[in-house]
Amino acid sequence: MRNLDKPKRRWHIVVFLLPAVLVYTAIMIIPLFGTLQLSLFTTIDREQVFIGFDNFRTLLGDERWSQSFWNALKNNAWFFLVHMIVQNPIGIAIAAMLSSSALRFSSFYRTAIFIPTILSFVIVGFAWKLILSPIWGIAPGMLDAVGLRFLFEPWLGKEEYALTTVALISVWQFVGIPMMLIYAALLSIPDEVLEAGEIDGLTGMSAFWKIKLPLILPSIGIISILTFVGNFNAFDLVYTTQGALAGPNYSTDVLGTLLYRTFFGFQMQLGDPNMGSAIAMMMFLVILIGVCIYLFGIQTRMRRYQF
C-alpha cells in the first residue's frame, strides 16, 4: 500500500535528456569553462601563470587595449543596429507581401530571397567585393547607366562607409531568415480571426497593424535575439571582405576580428591565447547580458494569444 504513495521515479526523463546533456557539456560547457580558465592565466617564460583578472584589467584599463576593445564593441553595436533597422523590417514586409493571396509566383520569390542565406560567407563576401570593385565591378557601370555615376564611391575602402557597407551585405545575405520565420508565423494565424476582423471593418493595412502584427510579435522577439547573437559573433564576412586587420584603419573591426588577431596572432604578431580568451569571455558576457535583458525584460511581458 505504501508503495503507491511514493512518487514513481521517472527514469525515462533522465534517459531522454542524457544524450543532449552529454554532447552539450562536452562541446559547449567544458570549452566555455576552459576559455574562462585560460583567460585568468598569462604566459611567462613558457609557463602558464595565474594572474586573476589582470587580463581583463589590461583589456579595459590599458589605453591601447581599451581603445581597440571599445572600437570593436561600438562597431558591433552599429552592425547590429543596421540589421535591426534594415534587415528585420524588410524581412517582415516581404513576409507580409508573400502571405497575401493576391501575389503570384510567391513560392518563386520566397526561394529566391532565401537562397543567399544558404551560401557561404566566403562566396558572398567575394562576390560583393567584385560587384563593388571600382575597377572590375558592375556597380559603377550600373550607376553610370542611370546617370548617377557621381554617387559611386569605393565604399569598402572608405573609413566612413566601410562598416555600413559590410553590414548591408550581411543584411542582403540574411534577410531570408526573418522573412521565413515571420512568414511561418503569419500562416499560422487562423482565417477566422482575420474574417472576424473584416466583419468589424479591419481590412488591408489596418488588418496587418491591428491583428497580424500583435500576433507575430513573439516571432519578432525571437528574430531580434537571433540577430543580436549572430551579429555579436560576427567574424566571417568582415574577415573575407576586409581581412583580419579589418581596414581601413580598423573601421570594420568587430569583436570577432579583434579576438582572431589576438588569439591566433597575425603576420608578425604572435598569438596570445590568454588575452584572446579574455576577449572571448567579454564577447560571451555581452551576449549573455543582451539575452538576459530580452528573456527577463521583454519576453516575460509579452502577451500570448491562444486561438
Binding site: 570593385s133 571600382p134 575602402g157 581581412g243 603576420q267 608578425m268 604578431q269
Partner: protein, 417 residues
C-alpha cells in the same frame, strides 16, 4: 609443395621490401610555399635525390596564412615533418627557444652566408643560427617599358624625376601612373614605406639606430618616406581605396598601369602574364648622386625539427641547401627569390638580373620593423600597415603617422622610452 613455395616467395618479398625501406630515409618538408610545389617536385628534390642515394624527400606545403598556426600545432603534437621552412625573425626564434628547432650553425656550408643573411634566423646576440638561409626578396619598381616609350619619359633616378614621370602619365591619361591600392593595407607599408624608406633612413644605419634607441620614428628620416607616400595618393587609380592586391597586379599585367611598386617575388608571375616589355628601377634617391639603399629582405630559410628521427639525413639535406648548387638551382627556378649565399650565381631572367644588380651599387637593408621591434603589443608591423594606408588615403598626416608609431613603440620598448 606448391603452397610452401608460394608462402616462401611471399615471405621473401616481405623481407626484401623491409630491407629496402630500412636503407631508405624519407624526409618531409613543412612549407608555406604551395605556389612552388611543382618546382620542388620536378627540379629541386630530383637534383638532391640524384646526389644523395637513400634519402627521399617529400615537399608538403600548407596554405601561407595557416602555416604558422598549423606548424605550431604539429610541433606540439609531435607530428611535424623533419625539415621546417622558417619564417624570418621572431616566428622561428620562438620555435628555436621552445626547443623545436635544432641549431644548424655548425654545418659545413654555413660559411657561405654573411651575417646579414643569417640575421633572420639567429638569436639576438648572433650566437646561434637555427635555419639555413634560402632567399631574400628585393623591393623596387617594375615598369612598363612600352608605356614609357609611348609617353616619352626616361627611367627616374631622383624623387623629383619620379614625380615628373608620374605627372607625365597623369597628364596623358592613357595609363594609371601607379598600380597600388590601400584595401589590403600591407602593400602601402611593404611596397610603399619599406620600399622607398631606406634611402631616407640610410638603410641598416638607421634601422640599427632605431633598435638601439638612438633615433626616433618622429625623426625626419622616418617621417620623410610618409611625406612621399602622401603624394602617391593622387597618382593611384580611381577608387584605389577599395583596390586589392590582386587588382593592382592585374592592372599592371593587363597594361593599364605604368609603374608597379613591387617586390621581386612578382617576377615569375608577371613574366607569365604580360605581353609588353618590363623593366625595373630602384627606389629613387632625394638628390642626384646620393648613396642609394634598397630593401633586400631576408624572407625564407629552412631548419630541422629537433624531434626528427632522421637527423643525419636532415643535416645532409640542410648542408646541401647551403651549397652553391642549390643556390643556383633555386634562384633560377624561382626568379625573384634571390639566394643569400655568397656563391657566384648566374641568373637567366633579365628582370631578376636587373634587380639583383642593385646590390652592387646600393646598401642592402631589411624591412625596418621585423627584427625585435615587432615583439610587443601593439605590434609595430601591423600598425605601420595601417598608418601607411592612412597616409596615402590622406586621413593621417606624415607627422601624425610618425608620432603614432613612436607612441606605440615607446609604450613597450625600453630603449625608446
Amino acid at each position: 609443395m606448391k603452397s610452401t613455395f608460394l608462402v616462401a616467395t611471399l615471405l621473401a618479398t616481405t623481407f626484401l621490401s623491409t630491407a629496402a625501406s630500412a636503407q631508405e630515409v624519407t624526409l618531409t618538408i613543412e612549407s608555406w610555399r604551395n605556389d612552388d610545389l611543382t618546382i620542388w617536385q620536378d627540379k629541386i628534390i630530383p637534383a638532391f635525390e640524384a646526389a644523395n642515394e637513400g634519402i627521399k624527400v617529400v615537399f608538403s606545403p600548407s596554405a601561407p596564412t595557416q602555416y604558422n598556426s598549423a606548424l605550431n600545432a604539429k610541433l606540439e603534437a609531435g607530428t611535424a615533418g623533419d625539415l621546417i621552412t622558417c619564417r624570418p625573425f621572431d616566428g622561428s626564434l620562438s620555435l628555436f627557444e621552445a626547443g623545436y628547432l635544432s641549431e644548424v650553425g655548425d654545418l659545413e656550408n654555413m660559411e657561405n652566408f654573411g651575417s646579414v643573411a643569417k640575421s633572420g634566423w639567429s638569436t639576438d646576440d648572433g650566437s646561434a643560427t637555427f635555419c639555413v638561409p634560402m632567399a631574400s626578396v628585393i623591393h623596387g619598381f617594375i615598369y612598363n617599358k612600352d608605356a614609357f616609350a609611348e609617353i616619352g619619359v626616361e627611367v627616374p633616378t631622383t624623387v623629383d624625376e619620379f614625380f615628373d614621370v608620374l605627372d607625365a602619365f597623369k597628364e596623358d591619361g592613357t595609363y594609371i601612373p601607379l598600380a597600388m591600392g590601400t584595401a589590403d593595407q600591407w602593400e602601402a607599408a611593404t611596397m610603399g614605406y619599406a620600399n622607398i624608406g631606406p634611402n631616407y633612413w640610410k638603410g641598416e644605419e638607421g634601422r640599427l639606430a632605431l633598435i638601439a634607441g638612438e633615433q626616433k620614428l618622429t625623426d625626419p628620416g622616418w617621417v620623410a618616406p610618409y611625406e612621399q607616400l602622401e603624394r602617391w595618393g593622387e597618382y593611384l587609380g580611381d577608387g584605389y581605396e577599395a583596390q586589392s592586391y590582386p587588382d593592382s597586379q592585374n592592372l599592371f599585367t593587363l597594361g593599364r598601369a605604368a609603374i608597379y611598386p613591387a617586390g621581386s617575388w612578382e617576377i615569375s608571375g608577371f613574366n607569365a602574364q604580360v605581353d609588353f616589355e618590363m623593366g625595373a628601377f630602384p627606389p629613387p634617391v632625394q638628390n642626384a648622386g646620393d648613396d642609394c639603399y634598397i630593401s633586400d629582405h631576408v624572407d625564407i630559410a629552412i631548419g630541422m625539427n629537433a624531434a626528427s628521427p632522421n637527423s643525419e639525413a636532415a643535416r645532409t639535406f640542410l648542408n646541401w641547401v647551403g651549397s652553391g648548387d642549390f643556390a643556383d638551382l633555386y634562384a633560377n627556378s624561382l626568379p625573384g627569390f634571390f639566394s643569400l649565399s655568397n656563391a657566384q650565381i648566374e641568373m637567366s631572367d633579365p628582370l631578376a638580373q636587373e634587380m639583383v644588380s642593385w646590390r652592387q651599387d646600393c646598401g642592402s637593408s631589411i624591412r625596418p620593423f621585423h627584427q625585435i621591434l615587432s615583439r610587443g603589443t601593439p605590434n609595430l608591423a601591423n600598425e605601420y600597415w595601417v598608418t601607411s594606408a592612412n597616409v596615402i588615403r590622406g586621413t593621417m598626416t606624415p607627422q601624425e603617422a610618425g608620432q603614432k608609431l613612436q607612441d606605440d613603440l615607446s609604450s613597450w620598448y625600453p630603449p625608446q622610452q
